[in-house]
């Protein structure tokens, strides 16, 4: 029997790694990848909770479905924007998209 | 006063605000219509003010007369049955202040017709200010009191920054920010009073009757006193006053120094002393100390000013210091003196600014050392100015003396040393005013100013109204004193006779 904590700690680590990625990366797409990792951690959490603590209604699973769906949509949308940026600036490097500041 | 008079109280602030609205719709080219509207409405306001003053019945035992109230917002959120009311009413102090406003706006309107640029906008803002001032004096609901209080500050920035002179942007910004910063404390104080009273209403009459813990009173009275006091030019938060007044256009200086600074002192009475009497008694000595320091400080600072308006500004600081001394005495004589001083100083400082404006508009100069012998070139100007100076330095027979006498006496009752210092301040006041008078009016006329003309007819009329008021209070103060002293004696708990 696998204790719930296993999943939770794993998801925590995954979330932290994703967060690290968001902070450390310079490419918009790599940041997106890191965000996806975080969302994956979220899904894991939801599903774990649903299975262990909410077996009758398993709302967490539903939530995870929505999360996955929307995460995918987000990637698509974000890529659209990245493309526009790239076309204007010839770079997907987020550091360079910093004309708006102060 | 009857309830009908209550509607006149409403008219007092509704009329100027309505005029402001009307002017907005008026095409700016219609100068004569503008003059007709403002002239008429200032006369009506003056008439109503005098009427209200006369109608206030000081023999009655009612504190507030002419009370008219409508529910405005109730049973919402934290508000209880009476919640926020649109409630007006007048006490003796308010009646004196209403009269003051009526007089000053009458003169202020007349002298403002000289303005050539964006005159309409000027009058719109001026009348909003006046409406706010009247509203503050008659509102009996703390919410509306504060609303009107802020309304009177609202147009200040633009009035000074657009139509002012010299360092007008600096002066305007400083004035506005300091006054608004000060109202933080009032704001907080009002919240605390409401919360502590726990009756779910902003009705002042209810709040006066409510119980407040001594600790709360001791904490929040100084907040309100400082908040309102800043508008009253309380040391060391007076710094906006000289700069602001120096920069402001004539009528604004008149109204601001003449009336709006009094709103500050009025606020201390209304929100501070009347609501939190224990706190007021506790902090009375501090108020007196601040007041006397301000009186001396302002007077000594004024000694060294060469700009007439700056001098007048510091003089205002000094004279408002008397007001705080009077309020701090917490006895009827001293506080009566404080209110009288509010009235007296309002009139005379308005006169000063009117006259300084009268010369500045022509000479574009108001440095004392640049003038001499002006009594020859502009005799009326000089006479008015000297009368104002004499009133300011407390010459008997003029308004300043009556007020200062009461303050001195009130102060002497409790703190003879303070009373002595206050009287000494009068001597310093004499020094700078007479020095200035001797410099500017006497001596040989400088050829540089031979082109100057006497005051315009409008300025003469305005100055005459003000001088007559100075004389009226100076020679026959009983109508004022009866109203003020009765109110104070009847209604302020914690005040000794």
């Amino acid at each position: 029997m696998i204790p719930l904590e296993y999943y939770l700690v794993l998801s925590g680590i995954l979330f932290a790694l994703g967060f690290y990625g968001v902070l450390a990366r310079r490419s918009a797409i790599l940041i997106l990848i890191a965000v996806e990792l975080m969302l994956a951690a979220v899904s894991l959490n939801f599903v774990a909770f649903a299975s262990y603590m909410d077996a009758e209604l398993f709302t967490g699973v539903i939530f995870a479905i929505f999360v996955i769906t929307i995460a995918a949509a987000e990637v698509g949308l974000a890529l659209g924007i990245v493309l526009r940026i790239f076309r204007e600036r010839r770079s997907a490097n987020v550091d360079e998209a910093s004309s708006l500041k102060w | 006063m009857t309830e009908t008079d209550g509607y006149i109280l409403i008219a007092l602030f509704a009329l100027p605000l309505g005029v402001a609205l009307l002017l907005m719709l008026l095409p700016s080219r219609e100068r004569s219509a503008l003059m007709a509207i403002t002239g008429l409405s200032s006369l009506v306001l003056f008439g109503l003010s005098v009427y209200i003053f006369a109608r206030y019945d000081y023999t009655s035992t009612e504190q507030f007369q002419g009370v008219v109230a409508w529910t405005w917002l109730e049973n919402v959120g934290f508000l209880g049955e009476r919640g926020i009311q649109f409630k007006v009413g007048l006490d003796g102090i308010g009646s004196a202040m209403v009269l003051l406003t009526g007089i000053v706006i009458l003169a202020g309107t007349w002298v403002s017709w000289k303005i050539q640029r964006r005159t309409k906008d000027f009058f719109i803002l001026l009348y909003v200010l006046v409406g706010g001032v009247y509203g503050t004096f008659v509102m009996l609901d703390m919410f509306f009191f504060f609303l009107m209080y802020e309304t009177s500050l609202l147009p200040m920035y633009l009035l000074i920054a657009v139509w002012g002179s010299t360092r007008k942007q600096y002066g305007a910004m400083k004035l506005m920010m300091m006054l608004l910063a000060a109202s933080i404390l009032i704001f907080t104080g009002i919240f605390a009073i409401f919360t502590e009273a726990g009756v779910g209403t902003f009705d002042m009459e209810v709040l006066y009757a409510a119980e407040y813990s001594t600790t709360m009173q001791k904490i929040f009275f100084p907040m309100i006193a400082l908040g309102c006091g800043t508008l009253g030019g309380m040391f060391p938060f007076h710094s906006w006053s000289p700069d602001g007044h120096a920069a402001a256009p004539t009528a604004v200086s008149m109204l601001h120094a003449g009336v709006l600074m009094k709103v500050g002192a009025f606020g201390i009475i209304r929100l501070g002393i009347q609501v939190l009497p224990e706190g007021a008694v506790y902090w009375g000595p501090a108020l007196i100390t601040v007041g006397i320091v301000a009186a001396l400080y302002g007077a000594i600072s004024a000694l060294q000013q060469t700009d007439m308006k700056l001098m007048s500004g510091f003089s205002s600081v000094s004279h408002m210091g008397y007001v705080f001394v009077g309020l701090g005495t917490m006895n009827v004589i001293g506080m009566t003196g404080a209110v009288l001083q509010m009235f007296a100083h309002g009139i005379m400082t308005a006169l000063f600014f009117l006259l300084i404006g009268g010369i500045y508009d022509q000479a574009h100069n108001r440095d004392i050392t640049n003038f001499s012998g002006m009594a020859k070139q502009m005799p009326l100007w000089a006479i008015f100015f000297i009368i104002g100076s004499l009133a300011s330095l407390g010459l008997p027979g003029l308004s300043g003396f009556i007020a200062e006498l009461h303050i001195f006496v009130g102060a002497f009752r409790s703190y003879p040393v303070v009373g002595g210092l206050a009287i000494l301040t009068a001597a310093i006041t004499t020094t700078y005013l007479i020095r200035m008078g001797a410099q500017v009016f006497f001596g040989e006329l400088s050829p540089r100013w031979t082109g100057l003309k006497e005051l315009t007819w409008m300025e003469r009329a305005g100055a005459t109204v003000l001088v007559l008021s100075i004389l009226a209070l100076g020679l026959w103060p009983a109508p004022w004193i009866d109203r003020i002293a009765t109110t104070l004696a009847q209604t302020i708990p914690g005040v000794s006779l």
Binding site: A28, M38, V42, F46, F49 | F78, Y157, V162, S183
Partner: protein
């Protein structure tokens, strides 16, 4: 498990909006075939918004839930009307702007419509999944709308920042929600409230983490410091009407969620989050108002100013109760009106001059006194000056917080509010004090005739309406207050 006999009429306003979105999208795509000009698009949108608003008003008296996931009550109605009117006003006021500055007008209006749908769901959901989806619909629509400016590189950059940081915030929010779900065992608000008040043993730490992350995630949507960093950039980069929606609909929706969440399911755990939000509130109002002092772009200034406003409104969450909710809803109403007035004014200004710089507003009082009045009144109202909506609603909001026992917080708020006046005055200075040639006015000189320009009729319509609304709310707040109060009472039973 319920059956399928749902009363879909409850969702009529959202259905109308979504359908209008579809119609707009399609009629833009097939405009040649339909022989419709693009000029029709805004009016279709407005019609949808107005219809939706009417539908919401028609449901005013209803209190009924839909499948346990959304609830139509006074609270919902309040926000629906708010959103609907905001949308209508923004579209009417900005259609000239959109025609010139936006790529893909059909998409643009669709985004605004969908955003409103999302906001509606945020306000009416009583269940986490629905709320989340609503949040994402609103956010996605705005990600797109922000990036839709034509040939303005700032737009894309703003969109990128918004979408990447928004994704991060979503992740944080979701993680928080997952922990809350774990700790409370449900996504249904009522159940969460029940479970939290029972106080399950040993789940305090995850719940705390969860609440904190929820606050962070929603704080991003509401732009609370330090989750506000996207706000000024997105505001500046976005097309003006989108900025208006960002500052109005988006913010209000975030607060709707916050109120629903913290006034309902999270209320039993108030001790766990009150301090956190108080801290955020202080930080938000101080930082927002301080940075605003240094701005020279009007949109950016308004962004920081709106951050400051968020700080004020967060106070109501700190002291949450029916009283403070009622107050914050009222303030939201007043704030929306005021903010829209300013934005409509700025849009009209931009349409004429093509500038967003504060310095370019110099002499506006002479070239267009009416617009100057609108903008100045709006700014004064934002600063909380009297006779205008801002004063009254802010007074009541602050009083509510004081009444809730957070007088010190109110103290900070009032100080921050005073600072805010400074930068509003800087704008007003440009408008009224500086003349068109950059000089100061000499009160002695005679009037100079400056060529004037006029607004379009829609510009006049929106600005004048909002101006009047601002004054009306300022002087006669009772209708708004009662609506807000019944909404708050609906939330708190």
């Amino acid at each position: 498990m319920s059956d399928l006999n749902f009363n879909y009429a409850l969702l009529l306003p959202e259905i109308i909006l979504a359908a209008t979105g579809g119609i707009v999208l399609l009629s833009d795509a097939f405009r040649r075939e339909l022989k419709l000009g693009r000029n029709m698009l805004p009016w279709i949108t407005v019609a949808g918004a107005v219809l939706a608003t009417l539908a919401s008003v028609a449901q005013a008296g209803i209190v009924e839930d839909f499948a346990g996931i959304v609830l139509v009550d006074a609270f919902t109605t309040f926000f629906r009307v708010l959103f609907g009117l905001t949308l209508a006003v923004v579209v009417i006021g900005s259609h000239e702007y959109v025609a010139k500055q936006i790529r893909g007008q059909g998409e643009f209006y669709t985004m605004l419509l969908f955003a409103t749908v999302g906001a509606s769901f945020m306000a009416m959901s009583t269940e986490l999944i629905t709320a989340y989806v609503g949040i994402e619909l609103l956010s996605f629509s705005l990600y797109v709308a922000v990036s839709l400016a034509k040939s303005d590189p700032r737009s894309g950059e703003a969109g990128l920042k918004y979408v990447l940081l928004g994704g991060l915030a979503s992740a944080i929010l979701l993680y928080g929600l997952s922990l809350v779900y774990g700790a409370a065992g449900s996504t249904d608000y009522a159940t969460i409230a029940k479970n939290l008040s029972e106080g399950r043993d040993g789940m305090h730490a995850p719940l705390l983490m969860g609440l904190t992350m929820v606050i962070a995630g929603l704080g991003f949507k509401a732009s609370a410091v330090p989750f506000h960093m996207w706000t000024p950039d997105a505001y500046e980069g976005a097309p003006l009407p989108v900025t208006a929606v960002l500052s109005a609909t988006s913010k209000a929706a975030a607060f709707a969620v916050l109120l629903r969440l913290f006034g309902g399911p999270f209320l039993p755990a108030i001790a766990d989050w009150q301090g956190t939000i108080a801290f955020l509130a202080v930080l938000t109002m101080v930082v927002g108002n301080l940075i605003a002092i240094q701005q020279h772009n009007i949109k950016r200034l308004l962004a920081y100013s709106s951050i400051g406003q968020v700080g004020f409104m967060l106070m109501a969450i700190v002291t949450i109760s029916d009283a403070s909710t009622s107050a914050v809803l009222m303030h939201l109403g007043g704030y929306l009106i005021t903010n829209l007035a300013v934005f409509m004014g700025v849009i009209a200004f931009y349409n004429q001059t093509g500038s967003e710089e504060i310095a370019d507003m110099k002499g506006l009082a002479e070239t267009n006194p009416f617009l100057a009045l609108v903008i100045a009144a709006g700014l004064f109202s934002l600063a909380g000056m009297p006779l205008l909506a801002g004063f009254t609603t802010k007074f009541i909001l602050f009083q509510a917080a004081a009444y809730g026992g957070y007088l010190w917080l109110v103290g900070v708020a009032v100080v921050a509010s005073t600072v805010s006046l400074y930068y509003y005055l800087m704008v007003i200075k440009q408008i009224y004090v500086i003349q068109t040639d950059g000089s100061l006015l000499d009160p002695q000189a005679h009037d100079v005739v400056v060529p004037r320009w006029r607004l379009t009729w829609t510009g006049y319509l929106t600005t004048a309406t909002l101006l009047v609304a601002m004054v009306v709310v300022g002087l006669w707040v009772a209708p708004l207050a009662h609506a807000a109060d019944s909404a708050a009472k609906a939330l708190f039973g």
